[in-house]
Symmetry: C2
Subunit: 405 residues, 2 copies
């Protein structure tokens, strides 16, 4: 019994029937003696519909106005959830991001939370009510409406849970939890009962689709236990918690895959200090996130720098590289949009030898060539040809003993 923040995604509030099911589940959670705060996304594809409407109206879309437009979606779903709760006899009130005290910077369409002032939410809880809060939105220090970018509703839920000292932040979605691999790729994948923040962050960063890196990071920083579960089965899902030092850890917990990136290679770069810094500063200035970076120095004082970026950033990243090429005296810029990445993630990897070797052997024994490698203490990622990714994940899932019986 405690304070539970429940976040419901778009499919969980996708129609009237789903909204009534949500209200019924909230009522049950209350009846079990908990205080509940609800965070909602916009209904189903409503946000996409609004973007289509904007496309019809104008090719010019000032970010401030886009935020104003998109925040209509949560306004609708939260009012409807609150009505459905009233109908179940649960006293509730809906709150916009602004009313909930979610103060952000002024970076429209991808604002960052600067401060939480959830006084009205706290008052509502103390008055015995269930606050229903709009996910994804806040109010800027300039008093304008902002949105938090992709996965923003999860961030809202985690930030509220942290600010209110909640016992758990439940993320309700259309999957039943976190799996050892994407079940669409690996039929033998099975659901995990529990996973550490560190592992979940590595999964999110390398293609795990259940949670965005940002909300897991936020939860870890504030020590908010997450519980990812289904609003269709209402069964317990996967807990994401602090690593438990008393438990023996699986060497490898999950395999992730990601085919949303492309590779850029800047070739013939003089191997001098500060050259790489110039390149990646120029990319950062354009807001381009760089993922894996590999540098190979040859014998002739020249080096090749390869890195991956999101496919959606490939064009602008290539432009930046072409400009920087002349400044740094590089020879060439080559792009490759046919790559994929496979990663193995596991907290037990830290203390276990031979993991890297088993990964490389498994891939090579199956005729899969590795093009780039990067590692952290609990993750190893390999870049492969995109069409080899599915096979690679299945072979590794078997090799590391993750297949369900």
């Amino acid at each position: 019994m405690g304070l539970v923040v429940q976040k419901y995604g778009g499919t969980s509030v996708g129609d009237a029937e789903r909204i009534r099911a949500v209200a019924s589940h909230v009522a049950k959670t209350r009846a079990a003696g908990n205080e509940v705060v609800v965070v909602v996304s916009a209904m189903g594809k409503f946000t996409d519909d609004l973007i289509k409407l904007a496309d019809q109206v104008s090719p010019t879309r000032p970010p401030r106005e886009l935020d104003m437009l998109l925040t209509a979606g949560e306004r609708i779903s939260m009012a409807l959830v609150s009505m459905a709760l009233a109908d179940q006899g649960v006293q509730s009130a809906s709150f916009t991001g602004s009313q909930a005290g979610i103060i952000t910077d002024t970076d429209h369409t991808r604002a960052k939370i600067l401060e939480m002032r959830p006084e009205r939410i706290r008052e509502a809880i103390d008055a015995g009510m269930v606050p229903v809060v709009a996910g994804f939105q806040g109010v800027s220090t300039d008093h304008d409406i902002t949105t938090l970018g992709r996965g923003g509703s999860d961030v809202t839920a985690v930030a509220l849970a942290a600010a209110l000292g909640a016992d758990v932040c439940e993320i309700y979605t259309d999957v039943t939890g976190v799996y050892t691999a994407d079940p669409r790729v690996v039929p033998k994948a099975h659901q995990l009962d529990k996973i550490s923040f560190d592992e979940m962050m590595e999964m999110a960063a390398t293609g795990g689709r259940v949670l965005m890196l940002r909300s897991v990071e936020f939860a870890r920083r504030h020590g908010v236990p997450l519980h990812v579960r289904s609003s269709f089965t209402w069964e317990p899902g996967t807990w994401i918690v602090e690593e438990d030092p008393t438990m023996e850890e699986a060497v490898v917990t999950a395999i992730t895959d990601d085919t949303s990136e492309a590779k850029i290679t800047v070739g013939g770069v003089p191997d001098k200090p500060g050259i790489a810094a110039k390149l990646f500063r120029a990319l950062a200035n354009e807001g381009i996130n760089v993922d894996m970076i590999v540098q190979n120095t040859g014998a002739n004082g020249l080096t090749d720098i390869s890195f991956t970026v999101a496919l959606t950033d490939l064009e602008s990243a290539t432009d930046v590289c072409e400009k920087v090429k002349n400044v740094i005296g590089a020879a060439s810029v080559a792009t490759d949009n046919n790559i994929g990445r496979v990663s193995i993630v596991g907290a037990g990897m830290k203390s276990s030898a031979g993991v890297t070797a088993l990964m490389f052997e498994t891939l090579s024994n199956n005729g899969i060539n590795i093009e780039m490698i990067s590692t952290s203490s609990i993750r190893i990622s390999c870049v492969l040809r995109a069409d080899k990714v599915g096979d690679a994940v299945r072979f590794l899932h078997t090799a590391f003993g993750l297949d369900a019986n």
Copy 2:
């Protein structure tokens, strides 16, 4: 040249094409040297769709949550209009009712404006921008989102025009202006170039459908000239202004009709002081608006009190009357939902004899029986059988010389 507040109703922003047409008209108004503030309603039938959605979700609809839901509509239209303006090279920013400083009481779904603090709108104008403001909505003294009830977007526009000292408040709609009678009833009706606030108020109160009484009242009180015109033809429409004492006025300016009311007669009421007050206080306490009231005292110290109420209030008004009947010692309560009202309106009536006589003669010569009469200094209304209303309006339109050539 001056400051123009332009209000666009639901049909005027009904789809992407209409929104672009609105932006283009705003750009033209700006190019002619005016400062412009735009007020928008929700797109077309969007608000109706939201209510249908609420119907599907829950029979219980707390007014606070209904307001939260319905205000999503203007948020969408105002963001889209602002984007379309950006595309025309017009700098603009959208503002919610709250951001525009529209402070209301806490009476959800029909809030009244308590105070206007349009500092952000003023700043935007001074910065050379076109503010696009959500109609119909405000923020209560409790910091909750409120709506202003039916015709609320017009009220927003007039209140902003008053607070900003605008030169005119233009109300764009799907008709071209105010007519001498409803053109669907009277084919020979013609559009008026100009009409006084007092006449427009009488028209609005007796069935004129173009403007709601409340916004005309507000405009008169603050001396804001209104201009009702079409967002389809963009032609000049009808100006609603202070009466001009130098002009000779038409005796009768317009004929209105209204079949949205019903009649209640409380019979055999003791003719003593305070009896009528008890009845109408009881009705007021239930929020029922009473329109025409007629009392006929007989010889036996008993009296009949007849009055009209909106058809939608008939049931609850009848309940109130049945309860009060016993308290005041009345004999009976009878209802009649087959009535209609015809009114002639004209500022010149004040100084012109024989208007009443001509009205009654016209009706009686055409075999139309008058059941109730009420008058103001510039209006005469008669209650008739509902099925006689169309004929009555046409005969009166001819008799008072209003037919177009």
